[in-house]
């Protein structure tokens, strides 16, 4: 009973937050509300028994996304907007969209119905065969990394492209070390070093965040976790350090060349595992042929590709953050 009330509450809050984002004039408020929106969404996912997705949405949606929006906001420096344009095209399109969906959804199976088609076709096969063929407790990881590994490969490259894009747009402008002194650069780059409490507490948290990220990376087979969540978490730790100490120090900690290398190596590792499977005579990304024992092959294959995912996501998030941060130092 409590779960039902809680779910209703969460869902209604989602709608209220979305409407608040729509109606607010202040962009900073809108960005903060979007972070809350993502966190509420993550809580919803958790109530719907999707722990992996909840973790990912919390890390990436509520964490990284909010930081990127704030970074962009700082660079565009517009806090307020002119009043909205009252045009009828958006109103009609939005209403038509809502009407079409409600029309369709009235025939949807109700939430949790065990006789729904989706629960009776492919899903039982995954749940039944995973212990037998892959022997990994977290079925979501098994499906993600092995059964539908090709999709995840595509996805790693989507993240890779985002990095390419931000690099192409916001450039690789190197700070001119010779022309401005280090202290002046540190002065100019935004940081929180004069706020004592965040600085001390934050610096204590960073190693734990990174450790938790590594735990999530390698424990993804056994519990909620995996490359995407881990990458986001480790990147979040590094970003926290950069926010506190200033971008210059952040880039001393994780140099630009290192995060770029991580980005490329992660993608290469994933594609490379696929090619290795082909060289051994199996299909692309068929880990079972990597070793004599197919289950061992699956385990090693999943470990390697998740590692690839984690490396790329970490590298991309750090690189993208630094690209935005560096643009603000003039």
């Amino acid at each position: 009973m409590m779960t039902i009330v809680f779910s209703l509450f969460l869902l209604t809050m989602l709608v209220l937050v979305a409407v608040a984002i729509l109606r607010t004039d202040n962009l900073f408020t809108a960005v903060m509300l979007s972070g809350i929106f993502s966190l509420l969404m993550a809580a919803n996912f958790f109530v719907l028994d999707a722990a992996d997705v909840a973790l990912t949405e919390a890390v990436i949606g509520a964490g990284i996304s909010t930081v990127l929006f704030l970074g962009a906001l700082a660079l565009t420096a517009e806090k307020d907007r002119s009043p909205p344009v009252g045009s009828w095209v958006p109103l009609i399109s939005a209403s038509a969209l809502g009407a079409v969906i409600i029309y369709g959804v009235l025939q949807a199976p109700r939430l949790g119905d065990p006789n729904a088609v989706v629960h009776n076709h492919v899903a039982p096969w995954y749940l039944e065969k995973t212990p037998e063929l892959i022997d990994v407790p977290n079925v979501v990881t098994a499906v993600l990394a092995s059964f539908r590994g090709y999709d995840t490969l595509g996805e790693v490259f989507v993240v890779f492209i985002a990095c390419m894009g931000v690099m192409a747009l916001l450039g690789r402008v190197r700070p001119r070390r010779d022309s401005i002194k280090l202290t002046e650069y540190e002065e100019r780059s935004r940081n929180l070093r004069h706020h004592l409490i965040p600085r001390i507490v934050g610096k204590m948290l960073v190693p734990f965040i990174v450790l938790f990220g590594l735990y999530v990376q390698f424990h993804g087979d056994f519990g909620p976790g995996g490359g995407f969540q881990a990458g986001g978490l480790i990147a979040a730790g590094v970003i926290l350090y950069s926010l506190l100490e200033g971008d210059w120090r952040g880039r001393e900690l994780v140099p630009e060349w290192f995060s770029s290398l991580l980005v490329a190596l992660g993608a290469l590792l994933y594609a490379g595992v696929g090619v290795a499977c082909m060289l051994k005579g199996g299909h692309f990304l068929n880990y079972s042929v990597l070793f004599e024992d197919p289950i061992k092959g699956q385990h090693v294959g999943i470990l390697l590709v998740e590692l690839g995912v984690g490396m790329t996501v970490t590298g991309v998030m750090i690189t993208v953050f630094h690209a935005f941060a560096r643009r603000g130092v003039r």
């Binding site: 025939q107 088609v117 076709h121 059964f147 090709y150 290469l268 490379g272 880990y287």
Partner: protein
């Protein structure tokens, strides 16, 4: 497994593997070389696959060794192979053609990211075409979309940025609509594999879910293919992208979205939703006819050469939409053949435009006066392409229009309307092609205009003419695209 068996996976794996390498190469010219290597290899693989499926068989390749519907399978038939050849071919041709033009417009600093994005765009479009899994289409659609945004944003004019932003918004809305459609399909059938969905969709009792799914997928793909009236992102994106990028995306990217539309509509919905044929016709035929006229009219009034050709593309996509709506073998064959032929024609024309832009430093039509004398080979290539847009015999455009008219004539009074629309719009095409021809051949350059260095460099002229001559060859012996297109049409309509 032999190398030949692994080709379907290699078609996507080779570009994917090369892209991070291209990003890591910092030396001058190396990213471009890596991109050329990847796309040329992909083109060769695509041709080899096309040869295998030419006789009508279908290649199925299980990714990860897992069978459908539990794993993702690649599903290659004549239609997929034809479009794959178009995508990889235009990508490789544009790259080889455009080295100098790109070095001009795209900065050295962003070259690694730019070429990595180019390779991934090719990989994404190819991946969309050869896969047999509906969600996989979405993933590769996003790969190709994101890389296209990067390619377009590299244009030298600041309006490229605004065009990219508009494109991002509309492209993401389109892709999200597609995702919603797949979600409803999954809710109704419980599967993501296209063949499996098609098999199970007949048993679905909740028809509304299917209707809504069909609607979202159609609108989403129409947005991404720039079917009128959802085309507003396209003219500016084509105009302000670097010239060589326009060659590639004009030839390839809209076609792939239309391919997805055809594939999903016909494979899944066609026989299983009552009156689907009628619904498709009701939707696409008006949009197609409007596209024909609106696109051509807007092209006539355009002063910018690239935007003129972009509006012309809007009109040409209208022809393809009409072919898709006809739901007959000749109609679908016409649509598929035109996808391929228009890729050739527009690719060639934009190559000619890139040559002109290199020498004249502008694409404003009024400033191109006298180009017919200053750059005769380039303008000749442009004119032949223009004849193809009109549909004059001995051009590939004629072949597609021929099949389209054949398909229309099967439709009774509606067919007569369609034939009239096709002929009228061809006349409009004459007007806008003549506009450019008149300025280039019959107007004198202004007295104070800087003289042009002469003809375009050979490295750009030769690929342009290879494309033009390929078009001529297809016009004379069109067995290659027509056979594959007919095979594709028959497969889609379930006649095989």
């Amino acid at each position: 497994m032999t190398l030949h068996d692994q080709l379907p996976a290699l078609l996507v794996a080779v570009p994917l593997f090369t892209a991070p390498i291209a990003y890591l190469l910092r030396a001058h010219g190396l990213p471009w070389a890596a991109a050329v290597a990847a796309t040329v290899t992909a083109f060769i693989i695509a041709c080899s696959l096309a040869a295998t499926v030419y006789g009508g068989e279908t290649i199925i390749y299980e990714m990860g060794g897992w069978p459908a519907p539990y794993g993702i399978v690649l599903h290659i038939d004549a239609l997929s192979a034809l479009i794959a050849m178009l995508v990889t071919g235009s990508s490789a041709a544009a790259l080889i053609f455009g080295a100098k033009s790109l070095a001009d417009e795209v900065g050295e600093e962003i070259a690694p990211s730019f070429f990595a994005a180019w390779i991934l765009c090719t990989a994404g479009l190819t991946g969309m075409v050869i896969t047999g899994d509906a969600f996989n289409i979405f993933v590769f659609m996003e790969i190709s979309s994101l890389s296209t945004y990067i390619l377009v944003s590299a244009g030298p004019d600041r309006r490229a940025l605004v065009a990219t932003y508009r494109y991002i918004i509309m492209g993401t809305i389109g892709a999200t609509f597609y995702l919603i459609g797949v979600g409803f399909l999954y809710m109704a059938t419980g599967s993501l594999n296209t063949v499996d969905i098609a098999a199970r969709v007949g048993d679905v009792t909740e028809v509304r879910l299917l209707l809504v799914a069909a609607g979202f997928i159609t609108v989403g793909m129409a947005l991404k293919a720039a079917v009128f009236p959802l085309h507003s992102w396209m003219p500016n994106a084509y105009t302000f992208a670097p010239n060589v990028v326009t060659v590639f995306i004009a030839a390839a990217s809209a076609k792939v979205s239309l391919y997805v539309l055809m594939r999903i509509d016909y494979a899944i919905f066609y026989k299983n939703i009552p009156n689907h044929e009628l619904q498709l016709a009701l939707l696409l035929i008006p949009m197609g006819i409007l596209a024909l006229f609106a696109g051509s009219m807007l092209a006539i009034y355009e002063k910018n050469l690239k935007r003129l050709l972009a509006y012309s593309s809007v009109a040409q996509v209208g022809y393809i939409a009409l072919g898709i709506a006809m739901a007959s073998v000749s109609g679908l064959t016409a649509a598929i053949v035109h996808m391929f032929n228009h890729g050739l024609i527009k690719g060639g024309m934009f190559m000619a435009v890139a040559c002109l832009a290199l020498r004249y430093r502008t694409v404003n039509i009024a400033n191109l006066a006298g180009a017919g004398r200053a750059m005769p080979w380039t303008m000749a290539a442009f004119v032949i392409g223009g004849l193809g847009l009109i549909g004059v015999p001995l051009t590939p455009g004629f072949i597609s229009k021929w099949y389209l008219v054949l398909g229309a004539m099967e439709k009774g009074w509606l067919g007569a309307v369609l034939v009239a629309a096709i002929l009228l719009s061809s006349l409009l095409a004459v007007i806008y092609v003549w506009k450019v021809v008149e300025v280039a051949y019959f107007k004198e350059p202004r007295a104070n205009a800087t003289p042009v260095e002469g003809e375009a460099p050979l490295v750009m002229l030769i690929p342009t003419w290879i494309v033009v001559l390929a078009g001529l060859w297809i016009a004379i012996d069109s067995s290659l695209p027509v056979t594959m297109a007919t095979l594709g049409a028959e497969t889609l309509l379930g006649a095989r």
